[in-house]
């Protein structure tokens, strides 16, 4: 029997679940210098009144919060061209803005719009790239803007943009057994939240499949936990494993054929890997300490995890086939919940010295850098491409999502209307 029952009407009737959070409030904080950030100006687009999304603002926010760009404030723009014919490179050159994005949109006469943009090199005055992007209706406008931001990012940095992606997270509200949970899937900037799963019992630890068609998560029912797989295409939820005790920390292998997770039924929390085709599973750790929070290296050869086998929780790495783990973290009394950067050269995790903060460690040098200020930051992971890290922090109205660029310079806070917003998981890039 599937426990995720389709009860559309019932969900709307329970007052605790019917008040969905309003759209995210974005607040971008830029601190420190901007060495290495490319100067760019995103000129407001000439758009018809019916196209209410400020396309240039969405593009601007995407590029700015990556930490890789320094965007020119609108009030400092001396011209606001929307076509190449009216583009004068001189004022931009004077302001040291190497790249300028201009554009416009128009009604297509069928209820949709066409968005046209140019990325212009202000030194030569020549266009670098230009595209027309048709959209069916106004609700597609943000995706057009994210797509444009991806194009600019890739053109100027030589690596794919990651703005047309999704973030899955959990929202929890209330205390004790009145606490309710939702799985939320939103755009990469927190907008357009969708609420595919509501629960009166705990849900946690969402993890995307590499093809972004599925999300594994932990759910509880009647005093028992289980690992489920939710299909973003069909809306179906299937139970993968439910042993006595803990069923936790699901993590897809990079090729999507296996899943690592934590079970405690044999003795205490240990890490297992299941072949998703055969459902055969193998126990990778066997220790009286807590072994949990596994994450795969990008090449699938290693697994990094949290263990308190040494007394306090620290981070260990082992072969994805098991074997003797090697301790990676030595700085600080506790280090937990690791995951790899997309290039596999570093890990991000929670360090508990001076509060609970997000830290990155270079796996070659062993050098650790703290990137957030705490005091209760948790659940960090890299965005695709590795330019920023997303995590959850304690805000004035509950837990909230933040991103920080890997140089620590640009921080973005996504505030929601209420509840605790936790455990963000960034979707892989669309392949």
């Amino acid at each position: 029997m599937s426990i995720f029952k389709r009860i559309v009407a019932a969900a709307a009737l329970v007052c605790g679940l019917s008040s969905l959070p309003a759209q995210a409030q974005l607040e971008i904080t830029v601190t420190g210098g901007d060495v290495g950030a490319l100067p760019i100006a995103i000129v407001p687009f000439a758009q018809p009144a019916g196209l209410t999304t400020d396309l240039a603002q969405v593009i601007n926010n995407d590029l700015q919060r990556s930490g890789r760009f320094r965007t020119l404030a609108r009030e400092e723009m001396r011209q606001r061209p929307s076509e190449m014919a009216s583009f004068d490179p001189a004022p931009w050159k004077q302001q040291g803005i190497d790249n300028v994005v201009i554009g416009k949109a128009w009604d297509d006469g069928k209820g949709g719009f066409v968005v046209r943009f140019f990325l212009v090199d202000s030194l030569s005055g020549k266009q670098i790239i230009a595209y027309d992007y048709p959209i069916r209706n106004v609700s597609q406008a943000r995706y057009a803007a994210h797509w444009i931001a991806d194009k600019i990012y890739e053109q100027l940095l030589g690596i794919p943009g990651y703005f047309n992606t999704k973030i899955a997270y959990v929202v929890a509200k209330g205390l004790g057994f009145q606490r309710t949970y939702q799985l939320v899937i939103a755009d990469s900037d927190g907008e357009n939240p969708q609420y595919p799963i509501n629960s009166r019992e705990t849900i946690m630890s969402p993890s995307w499949s590499p093809d972004r068609k599925k999300i594994a998560l932990v759910g509880y029912e009647r005093g028992r936990s289980a690992i489920y797989i939710y299909s973003t295409e069909t809306g179906q939820v299937q139970k993968l494993v439910s042993e006595k005790g803990i069923n936790g920390s699901p993590a897809w292998s990079p090729d999507g054929t296996k899943m690592a997770f934590v079970l405690s039924f044999e003795t205490n929390p240990d890490i297992y890997v299941m072949d998703l085709a055969t459902k055969q599973r193998k126990r990778l750790t066997d220790h009286y300490g807590i072994d949990t929070e596994p994450a795969w290296s990008p090449d699938g050869s290693k697994i990094v995890f949290t263990s308190d086998r040494g007394g306090k929780p620290q981070i260990y790495e082992m072969s994805a086939n098991g074997g003797e783990p090697r301790r990676l973290t030595f700085q600080g009394s506790q280090n937990l919940r690791p995951s790899y950067s997309p290039d596999g050269k570093s890990i991000v995790f929670v360090n508990t010295d001076g509060g609970q903060r997000v830290a990155v460690q270079d796996l070659t040098t062993g050098v650790m850098r703290v990137l957030s200020s705490g005091p209760l930051d948790e659940g960090p992971s890299f965005a695709p491409g590795g330019a920023v890290i997303i995590y959850s922090s304690q805000g004035p109205k509950g837990r909230q999502l933040e991103t920080v660029s890997i140089d620590g310079r640009v921080r973005l806070t996504m505030r929601q209307a209420g509840g605790d917003v936790q455990e963000p998981a960034w979707s892989p890039l669309m392949k």
């Binding site: 609420y195 509880y220 949990t292």
Partner: protein, 171 residues
Amino acid sequence: MIKNKVLLSALFASMLALGACASKGDKTASTPTPSTGSAYNDTAGAGTQLGGEDARTAAERALSNNLVYFDYDSSAIKPEYQSVVDSYAKYLSANPVAKVRIEGHTDERGTREYNIGLGERRANAVKDALTARGVTPAQISVISYGEERPVAEGHDESAWSQNRRAQIIRQ
């Protein structure tokens, strides 16, 4: 399009449907003692007393103390909570068909899945204390909620100390 689904627990559905709209202002801010600080304390049999208690009522009252609180990142049962374990050991030994579920909880510090492990360790510490007193293991089930079911809001020791708990619930 939003696809609404409800992960429905038959056990708690009716209770929550009634309780979900209640004010959140009724939580206690007391320091943890075995008998206070829970949003769903098991108070069966703890009614108003007229005159002296008989032995049965006294035993019921002892069972209403069903919370064991822990130090940070610890699963050691402190001396002041041994009486909670003693009461339940006596009750379960005297009633071989009776069953309890022990729920383990943590405060919000540390990461969520690690805290699931720590909560299970706390619940197992209570289970082990009961079986050491002669209770049959089959009478006891264990579940960890980690930091997912706080009873006290706030981000300081007074809230954390109430959330680091194991609760024994009669089935």
